[in-house]
């Protein structure tokens, strides 16, 4: 934000006209446009198969756009910017067992910052700091497979926080969590001061954590607005195969 080129509110993530087809011909994205400003927490809602994961994989260049562009804090995702892009975009995968691949929690959290060139005391500080932010400092020397699922998900968040990302992107963060772990993770996410894009079909979770929501449906952004008003629109939800849990009324849940 010190750069003079950025005026007004800084943009964390800008996606324009993004289209993508898998090599087998499945067209997953048909032209996605979205803008997220720094400090926002935004939910990306959509039914299974809507293209959410495909979109997320474009944000740090794992998949590269067929058409359109992705920019992170002004830097376009291209093969020559990948290194910096992957530092700026912290991706938390759906299955923590995919994300935690090192033999101990400490080494896992250190993996990202070490790839950025950090060593010694500075690296150690990053690791402790990230684990502390998700309340997992005491698990530092344990192997990931000895942690509970909820703890593993928190450590997975720490692995990307350690890279001090511009934006944190979480794919289905509440899936497979019991109610207590779900609430603990919500508290952690709410208290982080980073930009968050949270992909989910857990509508109450979106309402709880995100002021603003986007609906991705059949490869395009079908709606963009305050979470509360999107969730109050029964027709909109039904049109995109989104459902609130039985008996859940958004109006009854003040923030």
């Amino acid at each position: 934000m010190t750069s003079g080129a950025e005026s007004g509110t800084a943009v964390s993530l800008q996606v324009s006209g993004l289209a993508y087809a898998y090599p087998d011909g499945t067209q997953a994205l048909f032209g996605v446009d979205l803008t997220i400003t720094r400090g926002e927490r935004v939910a990306l809602l959509g039914p299974n198969g809507a293209g959410k994961t495909t979109l997320v994989m474009h944000l740090n260049g794992i998949l590269t756009a067929g058409h359109g562009t992705v920019e992170v804090a002004g830097l376009p995702v291209r093969s020559d910017t990948l290194r910096e892009i992957r530092r700026r975009v912290g991706l938390v995968f759906q299955d923590p067992d995919d994300q935690l691949f090192m033999p101990t929690v400490r080494e896992d959290v250190a993996f990202g910052p070490a790839n950025l060139g950090l060593r010694g005391a500075e690296l150690d500080r990053r690791v402790r700091d990230a684990l502390d932010r998700v309340g997992m400092l005491e698990a530092m020397d344990r192997p990931p497979h000895h942690l509970s699922f909820g703890q593993r998900r928190r450590v997975a968040v720490a692995t990307v926080l350690a890279m001090e990302p511009e934006i944190l992107v979480l794919d289905e963060p509440s899936s497979n969590l019991d109610p207590a772990s779900r609430r603990e993770l919500a508290e952690i996410l709410r208290n982080l001061d980073v930009t968050v894009l949270m992909v989910t079909h857990d509508l109450p979770y979106a309402l709880e954590l995100c002021e603003r929501s986007l609906i991705l449906s059949e490869g395009v952004i079908a709606a963009d607005g305050p979470t509360r008003s999107l969730l109050a629109d029964d027709e909109l939800l039904a049109a995109h195969r989104l459902e609130l849990p039985y008996g859940f009324a958004p109006s009854a849940h003040p923030r």
Binding site: D98, F111, L116
Partner: protein
Amino acid sequence: MSAGHHHALYVPGDTPVHRLPPQCKLIAALGFAVAVVATPREAWGAFAVDALLLAVVAVVARIPPGMVLRRMVIEVPFVLFAVAIPFIGLGERVEVLGVSLSLPGLWAAWNILAKATLGVVASILLAATTEPRAMLLGAERLRLPSLLVQIAMFMLRYMSVILDQARRMRIARESRGFVARDIRQAPVLARSAGALFIRSYERGERVHLAMLSRGYTGQMPAVHDLPASGRQWGAAAVLPVLALTTALIARSLA
């Protein structure tokens, strides 16, 4: 997985052997094995000295002898093979309890048994005093090809995940009435194994993506400093040097 924090082979402890840097212990075990192999098979005394050296290491490391014996079962295939040789071997024969045995066969069997036993016990002691993770760091430190070390590291991390998946698949099979009774069920098991392989492969792809996402470029970042002092190398060298000296004396006497 509730078996605690440590790997099954590792025996937690804080003895001088446990404290040695892993790379020193790896080299010591390797050197010992080389010395044992270089010992002439007729040198009974030399093997006795080697066995005594290992016994001293076990005592210093406080590894119970019973545990070492139990773990030696992995040697059973060698033993069976060795036992067969004197019967099928050619050459000069001797009568033992009325059974005719091949003399060169007996020597060959003894050679295999003695050397394999010493090598296996040395490996058991190494594994019992070095955490698997430390072993890998030691291997890295010794500049073993980093690809091999990474593969071993992922095996260490994902073995339990894959075994868990295999167990869930077995439970799913059995809760639908499947019983593996004889060879006719083999196709079902083969398909299960295939599915397990595919799932593991897909997991590998996802893990690779996760690694790329955090800046992986093909090399594990070397963050560990595992310094070994001259004294530690010296301490670790005692075992292989004594074994090698024994082998050399045995050779010069032979």
